[in-house]
Amino acid sequence: MSDDKILHVSRRGLLKAGAATTLALGTPAFFMKNAWAQDALGNFPVNGPKVMFGFNVPQTGAYADEGADELRAYKLAVKHLNSGGGMLETFKPSSLKGNGVLGKKVDFVVGDTQTNPDAARTSARRMIERDKVIMWGGGSSSSVAIAQQYLAQEVGVIFMCGLTHSNDTTGKDKRRYGFRHFFNAYMTGKALAPVLAKTYGKDRRAFHLTADYSWGHTQYESMKEFTEKQGWTTVGNIMTPLKATDFSQYLTAVINSDADVLVLNHYGKNMVNSLSQAVDFGMRDMIKNGKHMEIVVPLYSRLMAQGAGASKIDGVLGTSGWNWTLQDAGSKVFTKAFEAEYGFPPSQAAQTCYCQTLLYANACEVAGTFYPPEVIKALEGFEFEGMGLSGKTLYRAADHQCFKDILVVRGKGPDKKKGEYDLLEVVEEVPRDVVTYDPKIFGGELGPYKPA
């Protein structure tokens, strides 16, 4: 801990002391406002030679695997920000110099979200109040991300979402202080449905199993909307509890329906379990309506594919934000740096968290300050390339959602894969224009630049 931090704490302590004295004197303290903080906002200004970032990832709970990979990426991002390398070489337009941010070296603290919104907020509070982070990021669940976005808006500290795929994050729950680099369920539906129709035919009957929370609901709605546009029929949908591990009672209901496609709107452990059990129930060998029964996993990740195993994912279609086998300059340099550091390739969660950190740092350089409203303005409408995928990426000002190409991927069977991590093959790269939508369809308000 540096000296200036102790000084800083005592400065705040003194102010609290003032408040307490006032109370003791009988003045109602409730009406006292933070009158000293005319230009201070959140943890701005940043004092001392270092700037602190917070990485709040799931270290325990259902998404611990992804959390570990996110943390690896964050550490790599800090390393590159401080001493150059990685995507700093390919990312443009970039104001990053590889000597920290605004002349300050980047330091970081780590928290555990426990894949639980309440724990995530408590952990984030600690990083904000005690460690004075100027920005924090992370998370592998939409409910956790949304809960933290609201906190960000309350306290005036920017939150750069990690992996969250729900429409709500940049839809009805969008916040001025929250930003998402990852794509969302709506874009998945838009990108995936045409490929599904092309591969499996336009006359298909789909049954959905959906994880019963924010992300699952939006994923189901999006898949339903876009597959029906392709001529598919939605036979049924069952909301499954997030904590379910045995899906047999839902799978038998699917088997007994006349559906010939099973869509699993599940992620993480849910998806690993439901997909494995669907295969155990013989679903991939069934003939329904004279057609081969198919399973679709709208949101894929390599880590989950690993969990389910190559034989279970063989030929199963889905979408992904990024894959380490991509051949553009940004992906190559990132994968190379990550492999050199950790000995295996990064996941899409790692890539998105890495990019978020660089994007925030760059926005500070562009704004010339850490003052949150200015940094937000620098991020809004920012267009860049060289961070993975071939085209340009836009951070849309209206909803803080990134727009970029989307990958439709297919699971590789045991005989097709080359090595442990080669589990997904890219079937199609759906261009950004195809998946872009009108921000008005989801409603929601970003809120003010300066929190009340």
Binding site: V9, R12, G13, K16, A17, A19, A20, L23, A24, A29, F30, F31, M32, K33, N34, Q59, T60, D112, N116, P117, D118, A119, R121, T122, R125, R126, E129, R130, S142, S143, I146, A147, Y150, L151, E154, D168, D173, D212, Y213, S214, M239, P241, L242, A452
Partner: protein, 335 residues
Amino acid sequence: MMNKTYPSFWRANAPVAYFAVIVLTMPFWFPLIGGYPGLDTKILIWAIFAIGFDILLGYMGYLSFGHAAFFGISAYTTGLMLLHYSSEIVPAMLMSVVVTTVAALIIGMLTLRRSGIYFSILTLAFGEMFYSSAVSTLQSWTGGDNGLTGLPTPTLFGSVIKDTDVFYLTAFFAIVAYFTARRIASSPFGLMLRAIKSNQDRLEFTGINVQRYKISGFVVSAIFAAFAGSLMVIYEPYVATEFLHWSTSGKIVIMSVIGGVGTLFGPMIGAAFMLYFENVISVALHEQWLLVLGLIFMAIVIFLPGGFVDGARRVHRKIMGRSAPSGPPAEKGEA
């Protein structure tokens, strides 16, 4: 019985005064031991919850494994009031207390028909029922797994309260809660609760309507939880489904036992210890902090059933010799 030859009001309430001083100076000393603003508020909220729980467990002898139900019901009520009615906290808190009281009456009447182990499991079942309802069946109201988001910043008589204001508001309620709980403990009603704990059958033979006292004790305990749950949402305008989960019930049990059941002060110490442990010490222990906490908990149940307070008393007695009196007067009655 001491009856009317009481010591002065001030002497009888000295522990409350000490407590008030400790609490109100918290913003000064808490950061010195690694705490931070916000955590102090949370500690006091849990302390209020713990005092109420102690009335049920420490005085009446009923171990509830579903007390999160009251904390959570109150939190959701406050959240819904802030969201749909007004950002003013007074009506929100009042409504929360009313709703929680009604819920406690109903659950109390159903669960208090049984005692001991049955009661523990029944309360656990009710708690889980509320949790499952909030996450699934009632999710259009409760926001499901996301929790209740988008609440306005709470206000008191028109002015926004947050951070430090909420701390002093919570401190006020914590001091009142401690004072009230002490009064309850030393009242005839408190004696009756203790009689229920020590020998319920004998009490029934005397013709007293024990059931009525049990339900009253249960409801009083739930009202403390209601204040805690409501303050939790005022502190952070967000309602987590976790507030209803059995792990919250488990947490309050662990806190109370670690601190020392039946002493009122002990459970508050336990609350402070646990939150401090979870948020400050845990950083050093990494992912294993829960394991360490579990071991501490087991060790206390096995070797020191009176918790920290009992431990402190034993140490005190060792130092002062065997003849020293044990603790302040109001904290007798629990060995």
